[in-house]
């Protein structure tokens, strides 16, 4: 029995020692120290365990307990108003709860700095609260304080505005945000003025960006902002009209109206102008007979002003023109058939009807041609003679007579033989030759032209005749 005791008892002691050396117990001893309020000792114990521990869960628990220890030490330092020590310990606690306390410490120090007129130092502490303790309830108050200091101490409106925007974005309708509006409203008019100055310099995008940024926040000068935005859109629309970008201009006018409905009358007039400009553009396309494009522009006018009467009239007009063109083409074809059948009076009549519906030069030429053919059929030589004698208001006859006068200076009248106009049939249908001879004993002038009765064209057939026509 004694031998058994000798073996078993040391074994049990060894087992108990081993169990006591296990990880869980090391953690527990640290936690017990924490519960007993021996925070520094607990931290030492837990630090040692964290370095050698193998179980991540126990290490995590150890780290959490260690954080709680630092927090307790930090709170103790705060009680003793040892702020620097408190800051160091709370930073080591590194938890959301510690951050709240850290913010309180910074806030206390900031107010001490303000009391000592050391605003830059106070601003440093405020920055620390905002940057390092983002979960603190003090932040709205701190941001309001910063806005006040930016305005009163630094006279930096931009910084104050930037701070206010952050305050509103993070804590809308918070009591400190509402209180900060009073300070912000004091400089917003100058911001609006600056934006208007940009607009005057035609920096419209920058001006709008500024105004829209201000507009996002609950500032007092809302009406004026909307008015200025409307003005800028209007100015941009006018430029687009000058550049003939009517669609863009229309959109801009509508935006201007959206932001300032009181401008309705003035803007409606401008919109009517744009609609009219669309009609003009449609008319341009109508002139070149691009009906699809013309209708598209007329319809765009309706997008601007629904049931715009001038647009309706323009569309009706375009439809009539389109109908007349089609009708003229049909009549013209009938005229061509009549012409083919040599019924020139009927053809002329039909071509004239087509021309009445659609003033095409082609139709006019055909009418003239039919007129010529009618005369050519009736008295070809007489018609040929009338063409040559009336050519350019009798130019040829006048020049021939001038030539004759020159000859009369050299010859007696009886020595000159004047043939007068002689009309002869030429080769080709409706073609005749017109001759005029001046013969003297020494020299002879023979003028000859070919006349096309169909189109009244006159073609010189020798050099002399050609020269005479020039």
């Amino acid at each position: 029995m004694n031998r058994i005791k000798i073996i078993v008892i040391p074994s049990l002691i060894a087992i108990l020692l081993l169990i006591s050396a296990c990880e869980q117990n090391k953690l527990r001893s640290g936690e017990e120290l924490f519960q007993r309020g021996s925070y520094a000792a607990a931290i030492e114990q837990l630090d040692n365990y964290i370095q050698i521990g193998k179980n991540g869960a126990y290490i995590t628990r150890a780290e959490l307990t260690r954080s709680a220890c630092y927090l307790e030490l930090g709170l103790a330092a705060m009680d003793k108003e040892n702020w620097n020590l408190a800051i160091r310990l709370l930073k080591l606690a590194n938890s959301a709860e510690a951050d709240l306390e850290l913010a309180k410490v910074y806030n206390t120090l900031a107010h001490q700095a303000i009391d000592a007129n050391d605003v830059p130092k106070a601003m440093e502490y405020f920055s620390l609260i905002i940057n390092e303790t983002s979960n603190s309830d003090l932040i709205p108050e701190i941001m309001e304080m910063r806005i006040i200091q930016f305005l009163n101490y630094y006279n930096d409106k931009e910084a104050a505005w930037s701070e206010y925007m952050q305050l509103y974005n993070l804590y809308p309708e918070n009591e400190h945000e509402i209180a900060a509006r009073e300070y912000v409203d004091s400089f917003i008019p100058s911001f609006i003025d600056a934006a208007v100055d940009k607009a005057v310099k035609k920096e419209y995008d920058a001006a709008l960006e500024d105004l829209f940024e201000i507009r996002r926040y609950p500032v007092r000068n809302r009406d004026r902002i909307d008015f200025e935005i409307s003005n800028i859109y209007q100015a941009m629309a006018e430029i687009e009209i000058q550049n003939k970008n009517y669609s863009v201009a229309n959109d801009l006018f509508l935006k201007a109206l959206e932001y300032y409905p009181a401008k309705k009358e003035a803007i409606t007039k401008r919109l009517e102008l744009i609609a009219s400009l669309y009609l003009e553009k449609g008319n341009d396309f109508l002139k070149i007979r691009d009906f699809d494009a013309a209708y598209a522009y007329y319809n765009k006018a309706f997008e601007i002003i629904p049931d715009f009467p001038p647009a309706k009239a323009a569309i009706n007009n375009a439809r009539n023109i389109q109908y007349n063109i089609l009708r003229a083409e049909q009549i013209f074809k009938q005229g061509e058939i009549a012409e083919f059948n040599r019924n020139y009076p009927e053809a002329k009549n039909l071509y004239s009807q087509a021309y009445q519906l659609d003033k095409q030069s082609e139709y006019a030429a055909k009418i003239e041609e039919m007129d010529n053919l009618i005369q050519a059929e009736r008295n070809p030589t007489g018609f040929a003679k009338s063409i040559i004698t009336q050519y350019r208001n009798g130019l040829l006859t006048q020049r021939i007579q001038a030539q004759k006068q020159q000859l009369l200076k050299k010859y007696k009248p009886e020595e000159i033989r004047d043939s007068g106009w002689k009309i002869l049939l030429s080769t080709g249908q409706y073609k005749y030759e017109a001759r005029y001879d001046l013969i003297t004993p020494d020299e002879s002038l023979f003028f000859v032209w070919q006349i096309n009765l169909k189109d009244r064209s006159v073609t010189p057939l020798n050099k002399m005749s050609e020269k005479l026509m020039q």
């Binding site: 073996i7 074994s11 060894a14 296990c22 990880e23 869980q24 991540g56 869960a57 995590t60 780290e63």
Partner: protein
């Protein structure tokens, strides 16, 4: 013996006092002592710690108690190892224990039989022979019993380490599953990663 213990206590106390005398507040409260040089470092650490804290609840569901496994292995050697999913170890401990204690019991039984015969014997030769025959198995029985006790003791030591190892691996597995799984079960509900 008592003097030695007293001396050891004195030395320990002196070391403690020396250590306390060297306590450096600046070093103890140095905000960078854990390697957090910037605010971002502190936030990164905090985020990591919060993430791990969320996993603690999941870990606790499957974590095994050392005392529970110790009790099991104390009652039936190898049971705790089985529980900690160390089946081979469990089988070895159980079979060793059965073998050693069984052998011890058989030898003891044999020794007891011979001993009873020895008590009933009347001849001096029989008395000597039976006594010798009772003594030898008894001694072997004690040896096997001792070995059984050693194995039992080692089984208890082992179960502590095995359970700690199991828990450590469980944590690693929990962390790994949490960060890799597209759908995560968290203490506050489900989280789906896309």
């Amino acid at each position: 013996m008592k003097k030695w213990i007293f001396c050891l206590l004195l030395i320990g106390l002196a070391l403690q006092l020396t250590a306390q005398g060297k306590f450096d507040v600046d070093a103890f409260t140095n905000p960078e002592k854990y390697g957090w040089k910037t605010w971002e470092d502190r936030m990164n650490y905090r985020y990591d710690l919060y993430e791990r804290q969320k996993l603690l609840q999941l870990y606790e569901i499957d974590a095994q108690s050392i005392s529970g496994n110790l009790l099991k292995s104390a009652v039936i050697p190898g049971w705790g190892q089985f529980n900690a999913k160390q089946y081979t170890k469990g089988e070895i401990f159980l079979s060793l224990e059965i073998g050693l204690l069984g052998t011890s019991y058989l030898l003891y039984d044999k020794a007891l039989t011979n001993y009873n015969r020895y008590k009933e014997a009347t001849q001096i030769d029989d008395i000597n022979r039976l006594y010798h025959n009772a003594q030898e198995p008894y001694q072997y029985s004690i040896v096997f019993l001792t070995l059984g006790a050693i194995v039992w003791g080692y089984n208890l030591i082992d179960i502590v380490q095995t359970t700690e190892q199991y828990n450590a691996e469980l944590w690693e597995k929990t962390v790994k599953n949490y960060y890799n799984a597209p759908v995560q079960i968290t203490p506050t509900g489900f989280q789906i990663k896309f």
